[in-house]
Amino acid sequence: MKKYQYVIIGGSIAAVAAIEGIRSVDGAGSILVIGEENHIAYGRPLISYYLLGETDLPRMDYRPADFYEKNKVECMLGVRAAAVHPEEKTVELVGGEKVGYEKLLAATGSRPFEPPMSGIERVKERFSFMTMDDMLALERALSPEKRVLIVGAGLIGLKCFEGIAARVKHTAIVDLAPRILPSILDETGAKMVQRVLEAHNAAFYLADSVAHFDEHKATLKSGREVEFDILVTAVGVRPNVELIKEAGGEVSRGIAVDEGGRTTLPDIFAAGDCAESFDITSGTKKILALLPNAYFQGHAAGVNMAGGEETLTNAAPFNSIGFFGTHVMTAGCYEGEAHIDKTQNTYKVLFVKDGVLNGFILVNLPERAGIYTMLLRKRIPLEETDFKALEAAPKWSALPKEMRRDFAREV
């Protein structure tokens, strides 16, 4: 049996981050990546940009071609881990082969959630939109005369729509929620984005769901009928927690980890969409299935696996996403006092709670938004700032003098 200092199950963003974290401490220890997908790491959210024609397969690689060689990483791609045996410190692969580890990282990600839907097995052209292979399979089915039905008006479903809109006849989008992007937008923001999408030939069926599928027709709960050729399901994702759960590790919403990425099992870490984070803006543990968070968690886990010290103590949800040139940035949690500013094409809400900026929504106002994110993540008391000026625009000159002095020096 082959043994490695570090074994990483999963080959995407958290895995790359862990490799970079490990190598910042340990330049030599052997690293094995066991990846289920048959690709080296790619920018997963780029799959919709590929369909739009804004990137291509080579440019989607998340790291340069020599990344694995340079970092002395062995990759087993297209291979599934079947079980983790913490007592003998091995990972069992499908087929029975075992590999040994000193430190293990579960970066197993998430998978599409497929709720039981009546008649769905009759739909032949049916796709998810999570991976490069999902996307390439969908692309092969696209053609200008085809009608598409997307179930789910969240981030995945709508980015998929943006990618295919110009390549199909029209698209219907169904969601149980009364508004689009319910996880990141309020009603006003959602309406603004919905208008943009409708201008690109999307028909929305909100506060509704599919009661029954025929091969080319969905009958909705409301009684309305939608005809389609291609079905994309994007109703949500579920974390891949099974390997750790079956090995005896604690799992609630996702794999439970401490601030350093340690699971409850010795020498086993977890990071990315399979693992929980502590969201400082809501004060709750949740899965923050966002690419930057996967990187932060993966990097901290890697450093700690190699004997260094790194913690992630200011996790929070934040999203930057565009649709046909309309740009949406959001962060945190939408509770507290709302400071609202709306114009024809822009929308800003700052949520102030307990004297700090705890959430925001910015539609078409990307300029310097990171200053708001910084205020939110650092919990800067707003009474020490010129909040009137900050409300108008994010700027450092509205911050206290000591902070500005640090700004000039600190990096």
């Binding site: 780029l46 998340y62 310097r368 200053i371 910084m374 500005r404 990096v411």
Partner: protein, 147 residues
């Protein structure tokens, strides 16, 4: 590494650095032709409120959150310490703009990418043009410890 530092006390708020930056990155040798009648999109911007003003550009952070957050791997920190963006890899999601604590990564005017200060290593200037032309010596290039 050498970084750009700005002394708030000496900044006049004249915005010349913004014009020098736009010129430096225009690819046009004649400054009048590069700037006259055009809306500029500089990578250094004067941050001001009341009588407080100072120029802001990329800090080339030791632990750059923009690089860690980039969804396409377009942002990198080189061995020389400079944080660079590969605009050909960038898809313009602006996650870097959302996370930069200094507001120093900016949307590109053409909309499909982000842009940032690369210390004039990516143009014909050879040295940071904002530093060279700051009339009051408020913008300086130096090692952190020497300042």
């Amino acid at each position: 590494m050498k970084r750009i530092y700005v002394n708030e006390k000496w900044c006049l708020g004249c915005h010349l650095c913004e014009y020098e930056c736009a010129y430096a990155n225009s690819g046009i040798a004649d400054m009048v032709r590069a700037l006259k009648g055009k809306t500029i999109h500089p990578r250094v911007q004067v941050d001001e409120e009341g009588d407080i003003h100072f120029a802001v550009n990329c800090r080339h952070c030791t632990d750059p959150i923009c690089v860690k957050s980039c969804i396409s791997g377009a942002l990198t920190k080189g061995e020389d310490g400079i944080v660079r963006i590969d605009q050909n890899k960038c898809v313009g999601c602006l996650t870097c703009v959302l996370v930069c604590p200094y507001g120093a990564v900016l949307p590109s005017p053409e909309g499909h990418a982000a842009m940032k200060c690369q210390l004039c290593t990516d143009n014909m200037m050879g040295e940071p043009n904002c530093v060279k032309h700051c009339p009051n010596g408020a913008i300086v290039l130096g090692e952190r410890d020497a300042l």
